[in-house]
Symmetry: C2
Subunit: 347 residues, 2 copies
């Protein structure tokens, strides 16, 4: 028989399934997986096809990482902090409260050794991961009443999950776990007093401004949350090197593309929400400081019992200290000056 | 004869030459082209190779775009604002003073139609372009004396090029064009009073802190300058679709990668520069406002005579207005709070 040409061996026909943790309605987050798959398909001339399945089509959204680890699917597109209950280390792959912003996440993951450290952990879980999307700093969410002091948080029933919920619970908030589609009626009926979701573009689609007019910022629990491509470790290892390279470039491209997409869509959505009655409110310094202190307590607790978390947390923290020193100079003062022009109507 | 398999036809063996506008010493900027080429090579299993040549190896750095347009090389890696003297429209592809920041550039280029508008122009110049790198907001540069007022700018001899130089000339600065390697002696001898370069990581290598201790920010003429992959239009059009896809993903990945690289390297370099005696100084509000007004005058002048510039400028401006409204909420307040913690030593 004729030997196959070398190129055909290294570019085999492969079809993978990727289970997303997100519904198609979250089109920008869900879309990052599609963007990644399009780059892969285009770059391999259609030979490497990744089919994206919405949450629930193969497994429920919160089981995406498990399905990839078990080999039910070859990969998942998810937010690793969903799995922080299994091991807090998972939270570090997406975002921890008062963590890094978008640019700092990328600097730390790609250049600070962050992704390598995370993969040391993920490999023990049967997974290999690459950053594949980011929402940027999220909004703090929708509140039926103004909250000005820490006292106002006591007894507040808020739909907020993950580590942010655990932290804010220390201040008397009663965190609620409610699926996306059930939030609006709960807020309308007063079953909950507040909810966080994502940012203007996604929040507008769910219409929260009609039932809770105060729109707070920033979402301090998600300063630059990373979406993750999580590969079954064995399937990743079996891939031809060229396909690993394609996935590497495609995930990087999709990571940046998702941020650009939100940065383009959020401004117009914000403008419309305000026109529709949303009242913008910053969290008070008092509230932010109380939440910050509660977060630091939480990290002390986790670090004391989880050496894997501590190793990665300490590495991230060392970079964070320098990064926020540098960020105060050109980036911050350039933006500040431009914002002053914007407010003065001089742009 | 046996027909070649389809895959071999669509993944032909190709070698391209890419002329960079930069010396290898600017390793992060020069490196973005190498990063792009590595992704391309890896993704095509070595079939599509792009060789990067430093400034001067094939043509001088400031002739890179011309060499790509003429077909001397298949592509260039450059900063389009170098060519603004030919047509001011070129400046919009990299940065205009008081323009967009890094994230806004990407949002506008990839989602706001910016890159399509720019390519309408570039196609008439024999070029096709993709964003391929960004330095983030640059520093304002090194000054031998403190400058506090607009009066202090009068007669100041500063190494600054492009549109920033033209604008600051209106305030009495005498802009100087000096190649990278000649700046240090000029500053040491007092032939010039000030120079801008890039940011801490690159500036440190040239040692400017030894001869001009005041390090100003922000570099308002470059809030988020884009590096550009510029392809010879005919060569781009001839590429198989899969290779165009590979280049699209590779340039996006390199674009984000370069920003992450600077964001990782600049903080440590800044810390070292300050330890070595650099005195950090923000430009005063008075100076920034005078420069801003001079910039707006300049745009009025260009818009009155260059309809291509005006069309793209107006499109960018419409996005900028909304973008700086949105940026004031979560991103800015999250960063502000974190910077307060950084200054308080509480990170």
């Amino acid at each position: 028989a004729l030997a196959s040409p070398a190129i055909a061996q290294s570019m085999p026909k492969i079809t993978w399934r990727c289970t997303s943790s997100f519904p198609k309605a979250l089109d920008t987050i869900y879309g990052a997986a599609e963007t990644m798959a399009e780059f892969v398909k285009g770059a391999t001339d259609g030979n490497f096809e990744i089919q994206i399945f919405a949450a629930g089509e193969i497994v429920p959204g919160l089981q995406a990482a498990d399905a990839a680890a078990a080999g039910t699917v070859e990969m998942a597109h998810t937010a690793s902090y969903y799995y922080w209950g299994k091991d807090a280390t998972y939270a570090l792959g997406t975002a921890i409260p008062f963590g890094l912003n978008y640019r700092q996440q990328n600097a730390w993951l790609y250049y600070g050794g962050g992704n390598e450290l995370l993969n040391e952990f993920y490999h023990t879980e049967g997974l290999h991961t690459l950053p594949c999307g980011n929402t940027g700093a999220q909004m703090g969410g929708w509140f039926r009443k103004e909250i000005n002091t820490v006292e106002d948080l006591k007894g507040l029933k808020m739909r907020i999950g993950g580590m942010g919920g655990k932290i804010i619970e220390k201040l008397g908030v009663v965190p609620q776990q409610i699926a996306g589609g059930d939030i609006y009626p709960a807020l309308e009926k007063g079953t909950i007093d507040a909810t966080e979701w994502v940012g203007p573009y996604d929040d507008q689609k769910l219409g929260f401004n009609k039932v809770a007019q105060y729109y707070y910022y920033p979402g301090w629990w998600e300063g630059g949350p990373v979406l993750n491509a999580m590969f079954n470790k064995a399937k990743w290892d079996e891939l031809p090197a060229a396909y690993q390279s394609v996935l590497d470039a495609a995930c990087r491209a999709a990571n940046a593309d998702m941020m650009a997409s939100y940065d383009y869509k959020n401004p117009a959505a914000l403008r419309q929400l305000v026109a529709d009655g949303a009242q913008l409110r910053p969290f008070s310094q008092e509230i932010l400081e109380a939440c910050y202190n509660a977060a630091m307590e939480t990290y002390d607790e986790i670090n004391a019992s989880n050496p894997t978390f501590k190793k990665i947390y300490d590495n991230q923290l060392a970079f964070k200290k320098d990064a926020y020193l540098w960020a105060q100079l050109s980036e911050y003062t350039f933006d500040t000056f431009m914002m002053i022009q914007q407010r003065a109507g001089k742009l």
